[in-house]
Amino acid sequence: MRRTSRLLLLPVVALGAVLLSASPAAAAPSDQDVAWMQAAHQSNLTEIAAGQAAQQMATDQRVRQLGQMFIDMHTQLDTQLTQAAQQIGVELPAEPSASQQQQLAAVQQNTGPAFDRAWVSQQLGSHQTTLAASQREVQNGSDPMVVQLAQASTPVVQQHLDELRALAGQYGLPTSVDAGSGGQAADDGMTALGWGIAGVGGVILLTGSAALVRRRGVTAA
């Protein structure tokens, strides 16, 4: 009996969930949902801006193509996200975070092949963070519509990461790490000892010379 009634309730619950998520007044997204939507929106804005930077500055055709793909796909993801946010009354930030803007600006300080490589590295980082955020929403989110958006974005972001890794692989592994130019970390104990000994020697040399000069003066007189 109980079991049957529960089963009967299932479609109602499902329908209710759909209605709830579609009706702006009734929806109550969790803090996790809101945080993910805002972060995902900022990530989309960042990837679109990065894609545009690639169109303007990349020398590697593959970077341009990836950039265009990111513009197209993140625009699409963001359109859905923005609509959903309006529907459930979540306010989205107007621009990428300060650190996202800073990172992109740092990439744009490079030119030529150095830009291409810095761009790929920055995009690897930002897509990794986006993927982690989407996974967290899928696991911990509450609003089914928002969770579904996160779920739908995951393979897209994973594909971007795979493409970025493949391109980075073509640039090869680092063959050297040149990581110091000041010498401040170098122990200069021997140097100090050397100057000390030379200093003492200098004083003795001067004393001896002065005595020699004086003696010669005495002899002459």
């Binding site: 810095a118 980075a168 692989g169 110091g180 020697g201």
Partner: protein, 221 residues
Amino acid sequence: MRSPRVRHPGVLVVAGALLVGSGLVLTGTGSRADAPDFGTPVAATTSPSTHPTGPPAAPPPAPLPAPDPAVPAAPAAVTLPAVADAVPLVPVGVLPGGGLALPERPTVLGWYAAGAVPGSPAGTAVLAGHIDSAVYGAGPLEGLLELAMGDPVTVTDEAGRTHAYVVSARTSQPKSALPPELFRTDGPPQLALVTCGGEFDERTGSYADNVVVLAVPAPGG
């Protein structure tokens, strides 16, 4: 009144000259930043069955890990013993010449973004930075020279999660002998901190060696 008499000024002159000479020789021996090796170096941890060809190679079909391993976000900062503040990290790649692109300031470290991500279940996540700089002075990686086995190293990612490691090895080798295994994306999860050390050449403004500190995931972390 006369100054005290010097009986053998010639001896003093000779002795002084000798001291000055030997002192100057000592100052010319150059300064060094040395750190004794301990633990098993990175190349030795390579299992013969895998091919360390780097990021483009797909990871071998490993036995399935625990369900739903959390995807780490990109690393944001690393905390080292004896360094008061967490050191910020930025994603970096390889330069056209094969060198790892590093942030100019020793106070910011680079994460090799085409390699493993700190907190991921496999591969070596590489963090590197200038130990010092002719322009900006010394940096926090000086602390790598004083680390000991078992010291904690913690990476905080962009999502605010922490990934705890403990130091397991330190090796110095000529810069030309940087092992490619360092950048492997398969194999046991570990963290590599890379900087420079050894003899510092004042004329070229560069060190002879790389210092590589390895850390393994902290038990229970």
